[in-house]
């Protein structure tokens, strides 16, 4: 074939078949339809249609226990109740008594103010009948020196992790269980610190609650040997008890607290934005009633979720996508901005879902944070402090037809 070079040339030509089409844009000559423009608009919520609902997460179901020595102006204590510890063990079909060698109580530190040192947990023996109906005032008489089991120091270098107390010898009498106790141990925890502060401890709802382990020696005469056994018990009930119950003001928007509150805000999105605009930014602006309190270095995380259907307090929320998040440090007093553009794009617009959102703390902080932001609602007399949604949008682009 003497024309070998032509097919080869064709192959080389095809080898160069790559597209690179982008040129510098010089408007208006090279911008058919003009340039995109971004407009800002403030949407106000429907007046009177924003509400706070309380009771979503109650203290016994909280993912963390709050213990403070007056951080929010009053003391908060944690209480725990463990399941019954058997007083004997079955070996070779015979129940045999055991002798306790030691007891360990372990607690999981979830968060603390890392700038405060000299913390220790004071662990008290409580009556075994504590439950979700127990109040701070009812149990306060039990927090006396006679019932103090142990003071568990929190190392200054420990930001999160386990702390524990080990009881040996005569100290075991403080956790001795009499027949009247039915093998049930209940504990109360206070915080001792040189300044007002608090700690968050792991809770059974999060799987990192307090653990109480008994180490015992079991004498089995038939074999002539003593066997070591341990009885690990995880708290089956735990809760936080504030000295002062929280009060929710229905004219404000409260988020967090214990039991947890959530706030619902409803909007009306104009058709020109809902139907044809592209929202590129949406900022929910909330004005706190007072500087937001909380544990320094342990900020609250505010979450805004769109609702799938508007059923008031029981509105199902869209948690998988379109979620707005904002971190609120302790002491925040200015406007809190929550970016919720993905909620508008993915939940509100083009889906037929109601333009409403639910504000709460993130699930790991509900009823488990010292922060309890309270914002002005649409009922505020001053319009400047009412919640509002500031959106930036691009209108439908006027493509030239030909």
């Amino acid at each position: 074939m003497r024309v070998w070079y032509l097919p080869l040339a064709g192959l080389l030509l095809l080898g160069g078949c790559q597209e690179k089409l982008t040129t510098p844009g010089d408007c208006p000559a090279l911008c058919p339809g003009g340039q995109l423009q971004v407009f800002d608009e403030v949407l106000n919520p429907i007046v009177g249609a924003d509400s706070t609902f309380t009771g979503y997460v109650k203290p016994p179901a909280a993912p963390a226990l709050l213990v403070s020595n007056g951080l929010r102006g009053y003391e908060e204590r944690a209480v725990l109740r463990f399941p019954a510890r058997p007083d004997s063990v079955s070996v070779r079909d015979t129940l045999r008594a055991y002798a306790i060698d030691s007891v360990t109580m372990a607690f999981n530190l979830v968060a603390r103010d890392t700038n405060t040192t000299g913390l220790q947990l004071l662990v008290y023996r409580l009556p075994r009948f504590i439950d979700s109906t127990s109040s701070y005032a009812q149990l306060d008489p039990a927090f006396v020196p006679e019932n103090l089991i142990s003071a568990v120091p929190i190392p200054d270098t420990l930001n999160a992790g386990g702390v524990r107390a080990v009881l040996l010898g005569a100290d075991l009498a403080r956790v001795a269980l009499s027949p009247a106790d039915s093998g049930v141990l209940a504990l109360g925890i206070r915080l001792d610190a040189p300044t007002f502060t608090g700690v968050r401890l792991g809770a059974s709802a999060a799987g990192n609650g307090g653990v109480y382990v008994t180490y015992a020696t079991l004498d089995v005469p038939d074999t002539g040997t003593a066997r070591l056994r341990s009885f690990p018990l995880v708290a089956t009930f735990n809760s936080s008890l504030p000295a002062v119950p929280e009060v929710v003001d229905s004219t404000l928007l409260t988020v967090g607290g214990s039991p947890a509150s959530r706030s619902m805000i409803r909007f009306e999105v104009p058709a020109r934005i809902r139907d044809s605009a592209t929202v590129v930014r949406a900022t929910l602006e909330l004005t706190p009633v007072a500087p937001i309190t909380g544990l320094p270095t342990d900020p609250a995380l505010l979450i805004a979720r769109g609702v799938i259907a508007d059923l008031g307090a029981k509105s199902p929320v869209q948690s998988n996508f379109g979620v707005g998040l904002d971190t609120i440090p302790e002491g925040t007093s200015g406007t809190v901005d929550v970016e919720i553009v993905r909620m508008l794009q993915q939940v509100w617009l083009g889906t037929g879902r109601p333009p409403a959102l639910v504000l709460s703390l993130t699930p790991e902080l509900e009823a488990a944070s010292f922060s309890r932001p309270v914002f002005y609602s649409t009922r505020a007399a001053d319009p400047a402090v009412r919640p509002r949604l500031r959106i930036s949008y691009v209108p439908s682009f006027p493509f030239e037809n030909p």
Partner: protein, 378 residues
């Protein structure tokens, strides 16, 4: 040595890689196609009205000796300059496809072809600073279009006494533009904006042509074409119509020597018919165009005329859709080409290389268009 040089040239050209899809296709219906086969492109388009493998003149179909199919591919490399900067980009097109053949013992020939009527492939990017919520934010805008209009032609030609050839064609003009505009923000608080639209076109036209052979050395061709109007739909909703131009063409062919064939042609299109429609629909407008071309073909081996002929030509034209109202975009090109038939002349490959310049005020571009045509005669 010449073959090696050709291969090396073709290998190197993609590496030089100037260019892009033309910025002069941004406005109106885009950059007009030329409806020419590779054979005619190699000579600047001067033989377009006589070329049986082009879709310009339906009368030229009569020159097809046997059933022939032609496939054309082109790769363009250009450097684009405008006040916003310079870019080197490139594109690949398949601008022409044709099947033609004679009807035995009738003097008739038929042809079916697809060719690009206008090309509106482009992407434009720019960076600006926009003040959003009182804060300057860097934004990057891009606007892109994919598509264009295509010309589907059915042509019939009749040769009368080897002197006259008449032809007629029915054209379906159809196509679409997929437009997309996008803005991204340097500030991550802002999400990207992206909007799309699809514009569809549909229309029909007629063409008639004639070729007159005058003696053994001269020939003349003429063309008249009416493209009617295209209906425009945006996202499946009727958006209006755009009048398409009349086309008038005249070509001359001279055979001064046994080795040399020369031709010249002129094409005038009344694109100003689309002016009011385009302005009404938000565009800049359109103006009439004129394209003239001159070229030749040198045949070194008369016993084997299809073996490496040398084609050459030049052209000048006005483009119909200005970037700025009142200005006149212009186009110049010089080209060379060659070809080869093999397999007992049942197959062939033609090559054409054109250097193109386009300009309109401060907007300009230059580059190369390399075209390969493959023909099969089963």
């Amino acid at each position: 040595m010449g073959r090696v040089l050709l291969v090396v040239l073709l290998a190197v050209i993609p590496g030089l890689a100037w260019s892009q899809s033309s910025q002069f296709g941004v406005r109106g219906l885009g950059l007009p196609g030329r409806e020419l086969g590779t054979h005619a492109l190699g000579s600047g388009g001067a033989f377009g009205l006589f070329d049986s493998e082009s879709s310009l003149n339906p009368a030229a179909v009569a020159a097809v000796q046997t059933l022939t199919s032609v496939f054309t591919a082109s790769q363009a490399f250009r450097t684009v300059e405008n006040p916003a900067g310079t870019a080197s980009t490139r594109d690949t097109r398949f601008p022409h496809l044709m099947v033609a053949g004679p009807l035995r013992n009738t003097g008739l020939a038929f042809g079916f072809s697809y060719s690009g009527y206008t090309d509106r492939d482009f992407s434009i990017a720019s960076t600006n600073t926009a003040e959003l919520r009182g804060i300057p934010v860097l934004v990057t805008d891009s606007f892109s279009s994919r598509g264009g209009l295509s010309d589907l032609r059915v042509a019939v030609a009749y040769r009368l006494q080897d002197r006259w050839t008449f032809g007629g064609g029915l054209h379906l003009i159809t196509g679409s533009n997929r437009l997309e505009t996008r803005r991204t923000f340097d500030d991550p608080s802002y999400l990207r904006s992206q909007q799309r639209a699809e514009i569809a076109y549909g229309g029909a036209g007629l063409s008639g042509g004639i070729i007159r052979q005058m003696g053994t050395r001269f020939a003349m061709a003429a063309l008249a074409r009416w493209d009617g109007r295209v209906e425009v739909e945006r996202d499946s909703t009727r958006a209006g119509t755009v009048d398409l131009p009349f086309t008038f063409g005249l070509g001359l062919r001279w055979h001064p020597d046994r080795h040399l064939d020369l031709a010249a042609q002129g094409l005038a299109r009344t694109w100003s018919a689309a002016n009011s429609d385009l302005i009404e629909q938000g565009g800049v407008g359109a103006e009439n165009t004129l394209e003239v071309a001159i070229g030749g073909e040198f045949t070194p081996d008369l016993e084997r005329p299809y073996r490496r002929p040398l084609r050459f030509g030049a052209r000048y034209g006005v483009l119909p859709f200005p970037l700025i109202p009142g200005t006149h975009p212009r186009e110049y090109g010089v080209s060379v080409g060659s070809g080869m038939r093999f397999a007992q002349q049942r197959a062939g490959i033609d090559l054409a290389l054109e250097h193109v310049w386009r300009s309109e005020g401060v907007y300009s571009e230059r580059g190369f268009v390399l075209t390969v045509g493959v023909s099969v005669r089963p």
